[in-house]
């Protein structure tokens, strides 16, 4: 299972790449493997203001549907609309091409509530 060290994580298996006050969000390698081949992605509206923990997206594979939650409060400023036609990018490249959406957040301290790569790995370990 791949867990890049430079990202932040949420215990519900989302990752965040923080760049200034924008967080790019996706699901982890572990999560994509659990969901198996994804066939459909429902992404949030750009401009939507979300609280941490809000349901913002739904990922579907042939037999599973999984809800995705905003890992941090802020405004959705971009979504990866390339996934509409190629949801399998989430399986093939969960940390790069398979990103889901970007959130512009206000509170620097919200980042402190996220997990480090080490803490996340610890959570998934058998």
């Amino acid at each position: 299972m791949s867990v890049p060290q430079d990202l932040f994580y949420e215990k519900t298996h989302e990752w965040l790449r923080i760049d200034d006050h924008t967080a790019t969000v996706g699901i982890t390698d572990f999560a994509q493997n659990q969901l198996s081949d994804l066939t459909f992605v429902e992404l949030p509206e750009v401009g939507r203001v979300v609280e941490a923990g809000d349901e913002v997206a739904v990922l579907e594979s042939v037999k599973a549907a999984s809800d995705i939650y905003a890992p941090i409060a802020g405004e959705i400023v971009a979504v990866n609309s390339a996934l509409d036609d190629a949801p399998e990018m989430i399986n093939n490249s969960p940390y790069e091409e398979g990103w889901l959406f970007k959130i512009k957040f206000e509170k620097e301290e919200d980042v402190d509530n996220l997990l480090s790569a080490e803490e996340y790995e610890d959570l998934c370990e058998e």
């Binding site: 519900t12 298996h13 572990f30 999560a31 493997n33 659990q34 969901l35 198996s36 459909f40 739904v58 579907e60 594979s61 042939v62 037999k63 599973a64 549907a65 999984s66 809800d67 939650y69 959570l123 998934c124 370990e125 058998e126």
Partner: protein, 227 residues
């Protein structure tokens, strides 16, 4: 803490099954209860998954009503299927992906439970690449569709034992045209085991495949969270 199974002797309406699942889902997300598996039979019902399309329904709403079949749009993954007495429905409301994370995914585990249960009764079942569920030479025997919310799974699998299969004639099961649906009875005929024996093997195989010890409750004496 032991995981729990709750077994129902009388058929349960789909609506009641949904309510139970939603209640258990919330409680499981909040860690108020351990992983819990419901095993039950539904009264005759057709359910469509999230992407399920109405054109897989071959009858009108009035015709379904006349046949005594309820129709539901379910929030699970997967496509259209049919439930009726004589089919076990397994709803594992279990947390995935925490400590001791399942090495295989939930879909694989559910298929494995079906295949092992078939093997217990000398039926050869297999997976079909690109199609989920459990298959036999004669046709599809178990169907799978589930959803995750906060990584707690709900919905699950249906496994045909000795139900009247004519309900499947009123839909295009899983959107697969021309694919026969079978039951254990189709294959074994008079040698088909009783429902209780199959239920016990499904639970035992769940316990083994999902590595969860089960404390078994009956619906007439359920754990407090189900009252």
């Amino acid at each position: 803490m032991h995981s729990r199974a709750v077994q129902f002797d009388e058929p349960v309406s789909y609506q009641r099954g949904l309510e139970l699942q939603h209640r258990l889902l919330k409680a499981r997300q909040a860690d108020e209860i351990p992983d819990t598996v419901l095993i039950l039979q539904h009264t005759p019902t057709i359910t469509l998954g999230n992407r399920g399309r109405d054109n897989y329904l071959l009858k009108t709403p009035e015709e379904y009503k006349t046949l005594g079949i309820e129709v539901f749009h379910a929030e699970r993954g997967g496509d259209v299927t049919y439930h009726a007495p004589g089919q076990w429905v397994l709803y594992p409301i279990i947390r995935l992906g925490g400590k001791g994370a399942d090495s295989h995914n939930h879909l694989w585990n559910l298929e494995e439970i079906a295949l092992r249960t078939l093997a217990d009764f000398d039926i050869e079942g297999f997976r079909v690449e690109g199609k989920s569920g459990a298959w036999t030479e004669q046709g599809k025997l178990a169907a799978i569709g589930f959803r995750l919310k906060k990584w707690v799974a709900f919905h699950g699998m249906s496994f045909n034992v000795n139900l009247d299969l004519s309900g499947f004639q009123t839909i295009v099961p899983c959107g697969l045209v021309g694919q026969p649906v079978v039951s254990m009875q189709t294959i074994l005929g008079d040698a088909c085991p009783p429902m209780d024996a199959v239920r016990d093997r499904l639970l035992a195989n769940f316990s083994e495949v999902c590595k969860r010890d089960l404390e078994i409750f009956h619906s007439n004496n359920p754990p407090a969270s189900l009252l």
